[in-house]
């Protein structure tokens, strides 16, 4: 083998060429013969009864093939959208799980709810016909915010759920926590809002569906992170299409971030309608439409208290959160603010007693579900803000209060008081490295320099852990998951010794085509240009649960290693026969099967040649061919973590916050491709910085109209919002994945909101500011500065 293309090599990405030359194949690029275009008519009201839908005139317009409504779906016995994760109330009873039709039948529950689907020869014809549909709505009062939703007398999103409460979940030990608080020398408190976000992958969602009447077979191309799950959920639970009659293809997908890991109403309706009109049907979301129909993220209101002893040691943590579920339950909605939130509240600390209560509530807003980090950024933000407040109040250095409460490397595996058991980690080492890279001790001088230029400088620190590698099925099923979350891979060695890998994860920017090839390169000692990674097509790939929760490498990669091990094991048997040696004497090293202690060997290519050519092959004891598959269910989550440090400069005259430096030291386990890992960190951090400083999904409290439904109103991070970040790793090895990998897709987004806001608060601490809600926009900061200045003047 020539240049090293295995583990640890920053080789360039195999998938780049098609993207830089404009040859990517996204769903919106697909054309099929006789294809019609579909458009959804969406509700302009947040909450209304549908009295009547008048579509006859629209149906008669030029080019219109059909107009369908929720009543048509019901008449065809199309099922509702299933929720794949149920959680229980603290009293053991199940959550409320109201039905959700793919198009509204009698009532709309958020602006953007689909009301009708118009299919026409061209997009313009479908759009014009949609505008001509006349819907009689009886508008009802709407509820948007979680505190309003639980106020007695508020409008009920579902008539049968008058208190709008989906669940009252809890985790941890209430009694032990109460006892810890009784012994506290100090109690730090915080009330905060974790603002609603829209994930906004740059490619809008889309679907093309085609029914083949000759084969009684459906194909749907969709912008999905998990095509096999779409196939199971939509085929089995909604459209009653047998699995062998349904093919889902997720080709190149332009970013996901969780937004594309749900079964969506549009996928169902487009697929169903393709049979009704007996033509391929294409639907492409507009961006503004995406704001109203992509599942959203975050949206919590929380109160929390941290009990400390006189030295600053954490004794107990109490958290009460109200989480917005939106107008319906999305695929994983209930899991996000419960298991992926409460179970991470120990952070990297030895806090012995934790109790967390989460109330999930329905509102007249777009459903809320997983968005990059999903629950874990919310947990980290709350905990790390609270730790900073405690440090400030007790006058302890912010790094020191963290260090003195941290789990020591020697304490792993570490059982937290909130179910999860961390297998590995070394948070103190990450912290020490981050402090050094960021020159924590030199901050006072930089603050003085900023002051000389009229700027307020702040430094912020956050240490965190996350649970990813979703998911150990036994554990998550005990927490409400309604299926296993394993992964599978096939390694197909061709006659020539080249390799095709078929894997159930989905690459939509993460670089899997390169990273997975590096693993096979490492195992088989063949260069990555002889390895192709295939994903995203249920007719090609055996099965898989897709890509989310930083699971692809930890779970999919481990399945891939196991399948490759089977190839090697078979190769050993073939080589033993060829070399007339015992199997126990054969070793596979540097791409050759050798008789241990001799110079007798057969190359990988010779063994593969024998497996297909069947010359000098033990055909009476072995099957021909070299094609092996493995399914792998992880035994635990993986627990990446790290320490992030940011510095901001605030211009007190206009309130603008300039992020001037960002350092991230993360423990993502073994790094396969450092270039790709750094890229994942960069992007993840930018999304967290977006939440901290720029992004906010805003609804009008009275009408339920979204006020931020375009890129002109919702502030996406631009190049000049970001500094050059310094990325480093301090790896400990995961004890249960192949090569000890942990996952790196979400860490940036989990650590960064708290890091940035801690820096903003630090810059304003001289004004008595202890918390700033996100996003820290210039207007919000300007008001804080000027209100405080006025208060201080009045007090004088």
């Amino acid at each position: 083998m020539n240049a090293h293309t295995g583990i640890g090599a920053s080789i360039l990405r195999k998938e780049d060429r098609r993207f830089i030359t404009g040859k990517g194949n996204y769903v919106a690029d697909i054309k099929r013969p006789d294809m019609a275009m579909g458009v959804f008519l969406r509700s302009p009201h947040a909450h209304a009864i549908i009295k009547a839908i008048h579509s006859n005139a629209a149906a008669a317009m030029p080019g219109v093939a059909a107009i369908f409504t929720g009543a048509d779906l019901a008449a065809d016995k199309v099922g509702g959208l299933p929720c794949a994760w149920g959680v229980s109330n603290a009293d053991g009873t199940p959550m409320k799980e109201p039905p959700r039709s793919a198009m509204a039948v009698d009532k709309v529950r958020c602006v953007g709810d689909a009301v009708a689907f118009v299919i026409a020869d061209t997009l313009e014809q479908a759009q014009e016909a949609a505008e001509a549909i006349d819907v009689d709505y009886e508008v009802l009062p709407a509820v948007v915010g979680v505190l309003d939703a639980i106020r007695p007398g508020t409008a009920a999103v579902f008539d049968e759920i008058p208190d709008n409460t989906c669940f009252d979940w809890e985790c941890g030990d209430a009694k032990a926590t109460a006892a810890a608080f009784r012994n506290a020398a100090h109690i730090a408190k915080i009330s905060l809002v974790n603002n609603r976000l829209v994930g906004n992958p740059m490619e809008p969602r889309a679907a093309v569906a085609e029914y083949d009447a000759g084969r009684d077979h459906y194909t749907m191309w969709t912008t999905s992170q998990f095509p096999h799950v779409v196939k199971v959920l939509m085929g089995n639970f909604v459209l009653n299409i047998p699995q062998h009659k349904l093919r889902i293809v997720a080709p190149d997908v332009g970013g996901g971030f969780g937004v594309k890991q749900f079964l969506y109403a549009e996928e169902i309706v487009t697929t169903w309608a393709s049979r009704k009109v007996n033509r391929p049907v294409k639907w492409v979301n507009g961006r503004s439409e995406g704001f109203l129909s992509d599942a959203h993220g975050r949206d919590h209101v929380s109160e929390a208290e941290l009990a400390l002893d006189e030295n600053g040691k954490f004794l107990g943590l109490k958290v009460r959160t109200i989480a917005n579920m939106g107008g319906y339950l999305s695929t994983f909605g209930p899991n996000i603010p419960t298991n992926l939130y409460g179970l991470l509240l120990a952070g990297v600390y030895t806090t012995p007693a934790i109790h967390c209560e989460v109330k999930g509530v329905f509102t007249n807003t777009v459903p809320v579900d997983a968005y990059r980090g999903a629950g874990r950024p919310e947990a980290t933000f709350l905990l790390e803000r609270l730790v900073d407040i405690a440090a400030s109040e007790m006058k302890i250095d912010k790094a020191e209060i963290r260090r003195m409460n941290m789990i020591d490397a020697s304490q792993y595996p570490y059982q937290t008081p909130v179910i999860v058991n961390y297998d590995s980690g070394d948070p103190k080492a990450c912290l020490a490295k981050a402090l050094e890279i960021a020159d924590w001790n030199g901050f006072a001088k930089r603050k003085e320099d900023s002051k000389a230029r009229g700027k307020l400088r702040g430094i912020g620190l956050c240490t965190y852990v996350e649970a990813c590698g979703l998911a150990p099925s036994r554990i998550v099923q005990s927490l409400g998951a309604r299926a296993g979350i394993f992964e599978s891979a096939t390694v197909r060695v061709h006659v020539t010794g080249d390799v095709t890998v078929l894997i159930g994860t989905h690459n939509h920017g993460q670089g899997h085509e390169t990273t997975f090839a590096q693993i096979v390169s490492e195992k088989l000692s063949i260069p990555t240009d002889k390895i192709e990674i295939v994903f995203g097509d249920t007719d090609k790939v055996q099965f898989g649960l897709g890509t989310y929760g930083s699971r692809s490498l930890a779970v999919g990669g481990t399945a891939l290693v196991k399948a490759t091990d089977k190839i090697i094991a078979k190769g050993v048997k073939i080589a033993a026969h060829m070399l007339e040696a015992g199997e126990g004497d054969i070793v596979f090293e540097n791409g050759a099967f050798a008789v241990q202690g001799t110079d007798r060997a057969k190359s990988f290519g010779e063994v593969v040649g024998a497996a297909y050519g069947l010359v000098n092959f033990p055909v009476d004891v072995l099957e021909p061919g070299m094609d092996e598959k493995a399914f792998y269910d992880p035994v635990n989550f993986t627990f990446p973590g790290g320490a992030h440090i940011a510095e901001v400069e605030i211009d007190p005259e206009c309130g603008s916050v300039d992020l001037v430096s960002y350092v991230a030291v993360d423990d993502v386990g073994t790094v396969i491709n450092p270039m790709i890992v750094a890229g994942q960190l960069h992007g993840g951090i930018a999304q967290g910085v977006g939440q901290a400083l720029l992004e906010n999904c805003v609804y009008d409290e009275t009408s339920g109209q979204m006020l931020s439904a375009s890129f002109m109103d919702y502030c996406m991070p631009r190049a000049d919002n970001m500094p050059n970040m310094k990325i480093a790793t301090h790896s400990t090895l995961c004890t249960h994945t192949s090569y000890g990998v942990k996952g790196c897709g979400e860490v940036g987004t989990i650590g960064s909101p708290a890091t940035v806001i801690n820096a903003v608060v630090d810059a304003l601490v001289h004004l008595g500011v202890s918390h700033v809600d996100m996003p820290a926009t210039p207007s919000r900061i300007w008001r804080i500065i000027h209100n405080r200045a006025n208060q201080l003047r009045a007090a004088e």
Binding site: L12, G22, M202, P204, V253, G255, G683, A719
Partner: protein
């Protein structure tokens, strides 16, 4: 309305609706799907092409307004450099300047125009210029590195040929 437009060096004659956007003409009529649509308010820049060598958001142009002009899309960019890849395309590959690839064609087309106009750009110049191009994957760090490297490569190539 009849238009005659040069697209990637090829003369195209077409009868188009007056309301047809250039982005839709490229994608739907000519099947040049490398030009992407990421928003509906001309904010994202995924649809940037060159019109007579100048970067423009093709979603803001009517096809009829391109009559008689010369359009280069991402599919035709390498040809303008007379190479397998344009130096800016190569720079994005060498510097991991893309992840999902959706914003990439617009980024590259925008960056080529920038580098043509700005001989020795600073990091700040690049970050300000990219105001009109949104990327959700990269945090921009490697895009900025790519544009700086691509600009340097374009300049050294220009130096060699002159």
């Amino acid at each position: 309305m009849n238009v005659e437009i040069s697209v990637n060096g090829k003369k195209i004659k077409a009868d188009v609706a007056p309301s047809l956007l250039l982005s839709d003409f490229l994608r739907e009529t000519l099947d040049l799907t490398g030009t992407h649509i990421g928003c509906d308010t001309s904010q994202c820049g995924a649809c940037v092409v060159h019109v007579d060598g100048v970067s423009m958001k093709s979603c803001t142009l009517l096809t009829v307004s391109a009559d008689g002009r010369s359009i280069t899309t991402i599919e035709g960019l390498a040809k303008t450099a007379g190479a397998d890849l344009h130096p800016m395309q190569e720079a994005f590959h060498l510097n991991h300047g893309l992840q999902c690839g959706f914003c990439t064609p617009g980024m590259i087309m925008s960056a080529v125009d920038f580098a043509t106009q700005t001989p020795n750009p600073t990091e700040g110049d690049v970050r300000r210029w990219l105001e009109g191009n949104i990327c959700r994957c990269t945090g921009y760090q490697n895009i900025v590195a790519s544009v700086l490297a691509g600009a340097a490569a374009m300049q050294s190539r220009a130096g060699v040929s002159s």
